[in-house]
């Protein structure tokens, strides 16, 4: 029998999902490049979040908790042998952004992002998509701040090269 507390949890969880699900999915997609895996990762993260909701809410760290689960879920899947190299359907890339990247630039950036080592990709998504600090990124990934900085520097150099106009050379 469901209690009022259960109903309260459901309401709060639902609000969080409506607000954050898209960003979590985009995070997972930036990390793994596969829409099915990204959806799997987000479902796993939200399922765990629901189960841990009372504790996580008390600690006022819902975003941090679910973000860490997304990154760690991606880590788990990267270590498994089943990795499908499936390019995103064209519809995912041709949808016009309100401002910013041309389709060509988006393709370049996707390629550059995929070419990053997994550790660099995680760091750059947390730092430059989520806007986390070095310390927050280090805490999410369980690595040192020095490693975050070095990974960031290397990754940014590669991504900047992809964004640089008239620079078509890729490693």
């Amino acid at each position: 029998m469901r209690t009022p507390r259960d109903a309260g949890r459901d309401r709060a969880f639902a609000v969080y999902v409506v607000e954050r699900r898209a960003q979590l999915y985009r995070t997972a997609y930036l990390l793994c490049g596969d829409p099915h895996l990204a959806e799997d990762v987000v479902q796993t993260a939200l399922t765990r979040l629901y189960a841990a909701w009372p504790r996580v809410v008390r600690a006022d760290s819902v975003d941090a908790y679910v973000r860490r689960v997304v990154v760690n879920s991606h880590l788990d899947d990267v270590r498994r042998p089943w990795r499908r190299e499936r390019p995103a359907p064209d519809a995912d890339l041709d949808r016009p952004a309100p401002v910013g990247l041309s389709s060509e630039d988006a393709d370049e950036l996707w390629s550059a992002l995929r070419r990053l080592a997994p550790g660099q990709r995680r760091v750059v998504v947390l730092r430059h998509y989520w806007g986390l600090s070095v310390d927050e990124t280090a805490a999410d990934l369980g690595i040192s701040t020095g490693t975050v900085k070095s990974q960031t520097a290397d990754a940014l150099a590669r991504l900047r090269a992809a964004l640089a106009p008239m620079n078509g050379e890729h490693p």
Partner: protein, 397 residues
């Protein structure tokens, strides 16, 4: 943040906005959460019931133990599959790559030693390369009590210049344990110096990187970067280090991990995978190409399959369980030589199937798109592929 960082932030955000997000109803996430809470509560009840039964002397037969995995529940059936060969169990697992983890002081000494060797080769006058010290960071690869690779970033200065360059060194057991070595199709093989086995060069973004594989199993990667991005925004005019000098330095036998490197099995080759596929699958292998290095191959026949061979160093086959794969359906297969786990699954999205076998040395999986593996000849063929002992044996690359 620099202007460039802001550009990257904006570009990543734009890129993310282009992603079409599935319209998953909140009710679906809620339902999954409810199911998980119910499973956790049931596990607690089951454990309590076991404890009570033990106290009052009730007999066994309580069925499966508490669900400890965070994955969806696995329907685990144990069956005997006569198609599975028994030779797999005869292969003895080896320790994973690397050496037993040295303590912190030993790790510092290692890196100091590496820097001294590099100075000898690349900065004999002592004008440029910073000694390794407490202020330097350290990168390492390892786990399960073993160190598989270690390295550091060292500052490089030029007299009269205010900029800061960097020479990075990373010493590992094999290429797989390198920290950041990533060719991405841009590497070129070069003649290996001295008694080295292989050497590669990668130039990108103004950085010159070399990797040398020595006969003793070590791989040393040196990376010469005119900008030490962590610590400076001003580059040096150059390090003046050519490819040959870096290769000679990387080939020096002295930078090594402390201890004996147990030879690791060489990776399965594409030819070996193809041999097994052509024998076990009905019909010829019409397409076989590597998707990411040597680990993944594609066969296009009546269904598209992807074969992956993934080394699991230091992990016993018995440690792998169906819930590890977080998949919906999984079956454990008993062979004559012992228990081998073969996971047969269906991905929640896309209707794909996956057959996995964790052998003593490697994990072999076959993923299938466009065909069901619930029953039928293809299922039996793929079970035979993943458990084929030839994918657990090795030959030189």
């Amino acid at each position: 943040m620099s202007e460039h960082d802001t550009d990257v932030d904006r570009a990543l955000s734009d890129l993310a906005q282009r992603v079409v997000v599935p319209a998953t109803p909140v009710a679906a996430d809620l339902a999954r959460g409810h199911r998980r809470v119910r499973r956790v509560r049931r596990a607690g009840v089951t454990a309590a019931a076991v404890a009570v039964a033990a106290v009052i002397g009730v007999g066994a037969g309580l069925g499966a133990g508490p669900e400890t995995s965070t994955s969806p529940p696995a329907n685990v059936d144990v069956a005997t599959d006569p198609a599975v060969p028994s030779e797999v169990a005869a292969i003895e697992p080896v320790p994973g790559p690397g050496v037993p983890m040295p303590d912190r002081a030993e790790r510092r000494e290692l890196l100091r030693g590496y820097q001294l060797v590099l100075s000898e080769h690349l900065d004999p006058d002592g004008q440029h390369l910073q000694p390794y010290g407490a202020s330097n960071g350290r990168q390492s690869v390892g786990g399960r009590g073993r160190l598989a690779g270690i390295g550091a970033k060292l500052s490089w200065t030029n007299p009269g210049e205010s900029g800061l360059g960097m020479l990075q060194v990373f010493v590992s057991h094999g290429w797989d344990s390198q920290f950041d070595w990533y060719c991405g199709g841009g590497c070129r093989d070069v003649p290996a110096p001295g008694g080295a086995v292989a050497a590669r060069v990668h130039e990108h973004d103004g950085i010159l990187e070399v990797g040398v594989e020595r006969a003793d199993g070590h791989v040393v990667v040196l990376s010469a970067n005119p900008l030490f991005g962590n610590n400076s925004t001003v580059p040096v005019s150059g390090l003046g280090l050519g490819e040959r000098a870096l290769l000679e330095a990387a080939a020096d036998p002295r930078p090594a991990l402390p201890g004996v490197l147990v030879p690791q099995p060489a990776a399965i080759t594409g030819a070996q995978v193809r041999e097994v596929l052509e024998e076990r699958l009905d019909g010829p292998v019409s397409e076989l190409r590597a998707l990411d290095g040597s680990a993944t191959f594609v066969w296009a026949g009546s269904a598209r399959v992807v074969v992956s061979v993934y080394r699991t160093p230091g992990k016993d086959a018995a440690d792998r369980t169906c819930p590890d794969f977080q998949l919906i359906r999984c079956t454990a297969i008993e062979t004559d030589g012992g228990r081998a786990l073969v996971g047969e699954t269906r991905q929640k999205w896309g209707g794909d199937w996956l057959v996995v076998h964790t052998g003593p040395l490697q994990e072999v999986s076959v993923g299938v798109e466009g065909a069901s593996l619930a029953t039928g000849a293809l299922r039996e063929e793929l079970l035979a592929v993943v458990t084929d002992p030839r994918l657990q044996t090795f030959s030189a690359r």
